[in-house]
Symmetry: C2
């Protein structure tokens, strides 16, 4: 929802070059809200307004714009005006941004960015997407060993302005090896001359820069952390990942699972921002696989053509039966994938899961079988024939629950994402099973 | 994964009543990790080990046990031993716990809990589940108006031990009305005699105690907050919700959407903890609705029985065609539901979404139509007949993408959860549409 409430006033201030009011607009509100009010402005107008905020505030407001707007501004405004803003941004955010900006613009910008920040950008962008290294920021509150609590507080006080978080402080040795963690709260409540070495926690929860970001989110969640330190292979502190980035990771991973469950290759950008042909490809790829799988139903039905010819009323229940099998399979697959992802079941629980799914399968099969039997009474020549529909559902539904629950676990066991064993894949398999069961029940009972 | 590595040693220590080593075990590690090592112990053993930790640490370790284990301990151990632990727990956690404990146990416990904590429990449990009030904690760092930065720091230092977070401080007047917010970082970097009233942010992002927890998560995420204050209708500060609870909310809401998309009524507990009959009901309810919907396919097929009798090869493609329609509908529904939930599309974008889905529908329809045509060549008497399969897919797939994308938006417009317009519901509708298109194409081309 673009907030257009304030747009006419903003444009008027710009037209009048009303510096005092523009300055007031930039400073009065939370930067996120200031950014919201500017949503309707184009890149040049936005930049003109931002001129009235000091560079740190300007970078903060800028950080709350939507990514497309950020990219538009960076690509439109003169390079030498943008470079100081880039240098001021949080290290993790600016790397994400530059990855989206046109390469020739980045090339022109890089020489204008101070050496320290430029090196930082190059280092961070060397980590592959989806790893802890790619998510982390490098502005860390580091403390040397041997300080007292009061010295540590003074040190943090000096650096507080430029750090992303000051609430966890990491104690490192001369070679930057991570030695301990002390919270600011601990420093505050300790005696001023207590040594940081004695206060600090030595058993630290950390992640390696090459770890998957999903594992990072799991750890932060399990230990209720505000931030998690990132170390390299030699256990040197290279960055931290803070709580706000973790929320983004949890949200993005959940969306990724949802896409996979629906057989869409995950999107890197929003729905409307993804190109039409790219999105068609991300869907078409899976649809083609599912189509080939679906061909099996055609082959199966062809094999049984003499039965459908002999007992034509069987045909009208085919879509209903395979949908019932597919829907129960869907449910089981989603329940198991969600439970695996959230850690509420483990692979070692497989027999309990199987047992439960089988029991539920027979219960649900009996229920739907009864409904199917009652409907079939209307179309079948006699009650005995209608029983074929009951029996098919009673056998098919447990197959659906079993397939749906076991396949994602097999995928996890093989080290693949269980969400790849997505609902449509499960449903397509159940379709074939449904036809085979239905036709064989019919042969056995009715021929 | 139960961590059994340390169990034999722990049991040996208990048998020998080795107080020194048990004390060391309780204090050496991060409380979350201590809790993990104790997973295999039963309620009595666990309690015996916890005796060797001071009450605050005991409550902290206890807080990291799985909920079932917490409930088992509270229900097993003598009430007067448990009451001080309950009184020590974080206000939001203990309310969640007591909601799961047997009512008669809670009744016996309540008189043993100090008055202040007891009132707090009663107040918090009066908010309905899913609201901000039910998620919040009441241990807030409050500051009176008129303090200096140094006085505020000293005040926080005194209270630091008992507060859930000290990093945001809320300024209130004598009647507890929320007046401002100052971060600890601001206090640290300010001049010691600067007034808190001048430092504080007055434009505060807050939520009402009756707001939906999903809206809370959205705000925290949008403004990158560590914690959000909760106010009542008179704008009095009643609690805060911290970042770790927000991550849980995001995770739970994503799981809820996933369940709805697969047509399972959301679970309140983990997969294995939900009773078999309850879970069967949560699934069976939706399956029954879908079954009734699926009956429409049977009625449709019955209407066209003379065509399937006249051209029997048409039958073998029925499951393939409706699966193709259903799968594309699935994809569209999931894309739109995910985009709506994450806010990357709004209802006002409906025409852009419709246009994109229609364009993708015809592209994907042409692709799958071609694949279908090639397969049909093998079964149909001639190439012209096989074209019926192409034409059906070319028309059906855009219907799938349109239905799948529009229905969730209609539900959102009506104020309902778009995820209720779940994939199986969409797929069942497309099944009927698929049969009608297929049969009418056949009538038009082949009869």
């Amino acid at each position: 929802m673009t907030n257009t409430l304030y747009l006419p006033e903003l444009r008027e201030m710009l037209a009048e070059s009303n510096a005092a009011e523009l300055r007031e607009f930039c400073t009065a509100l939370h930067p996120a809200r200031t950014a919201e009010f500017m949503e309707g402005l184009d890149a040049e107008e936005t930049w003109a307004v931002l001129q009235h905020a000091e560079i740190p505030l300007r970078a903060e407001i800028f950080g709350f714009f939507e990514e497309e707007k950020q990219v538009a501004i960076v690509e439109t405004i003169a390079r030498e005006e943008i470079a100081p803003l880039i240098a001021e941004m949080a290290p993790d955010d600016r790397v994400d941004l530059l990855a989206e900006v046109a390469p020739n613009v980045v090339e022109q910008l890089m020489p204008l960015i101070p050496t320290v920040e430029r090196r930082d950008i190059l280092r961070l962008s060397s980590y592959p997407e989806g790893t802890a290294g790619a998510e982390m920021t490098t502005e860390i509150a580091r403390l040397g060993e041997g300080l007292s609590a009061q010295e540590a507080i003074d040190e943090v006080r000096r650096k507080a302005e430029e750090l992303e978080t000051i609430y966890y402080l990491y104690v490192v040795d001369e070679e930057d090896h991570l030695r301990g963690l002390v919270s600011f709260r601990q420093l505050l409540t300790a005696k001023p001359n207590a040594k940081v070495d004695e206060l600090m926690e030595r058993d630290i929860v950390s992640v390696n820069a090459t770890d998957d970001r999903e594992d990072v989110a799991d750890k932060v969640e399990r230990y209720d952390l505000l931030a998690i330190p990132v170390v390299d292979d030699e256990y040197r502190l290279v960055g931290i990942i803070t709580h706000d980035d973790i929320i983004d990771v949890v949200r993005e991973e959940a969306a990724e699972d949802a896409y996979r469950i629906a057989a869409v290759a995950p999107l890197d950008t929003g729905y409307l921002e993804t190109g039409l042909l790219l999105l068609t490809w991300k869907r078409g790829f899976w649809l083609a696989i599912l189509f080939v799988e679906g061909l099996l139903t055609a082959f199966a039905l062809e094999r049984y053509q003499n039965i459908t010819a002999a007992i034509p009323w069987l045909i009208i229940f085919i879509p209903l039966l395979i949908a019932a099998g597919g829907n129960t399979g869907n449910q089981s697959a989603t329940l198991v994938i969600t439970a695996l992802t959230s850690g509420s079941i483990k692979l070692t629980d497989w027999w309990r899961v199987m047992w439960r799914e089988l029991a539920m399968g027979f219960l649900l099969g009996a229920m739907m079988g009864t409904m199917g039997f009652l409907c079939a009474l209307l179309k079948a020549p006699d009650a005995f024939s209608a029983l074929a529909v009951f029996l098919t559902l009673f056998l098919l539904v447990p197959c659906g629950t079993l397939f749906g629950s076991i396949l994602p676990m097999v995928f996890r066991r093989l080290g693949l994402d269980p969400a790849l064993m997505s609902n449509p894949v499960v449903a397509s398999m159940i379709d074939v099973v449904g036809i085979v069961i239905y036709m064989n029940v019919a042969i056995w009972m009715l021929l």
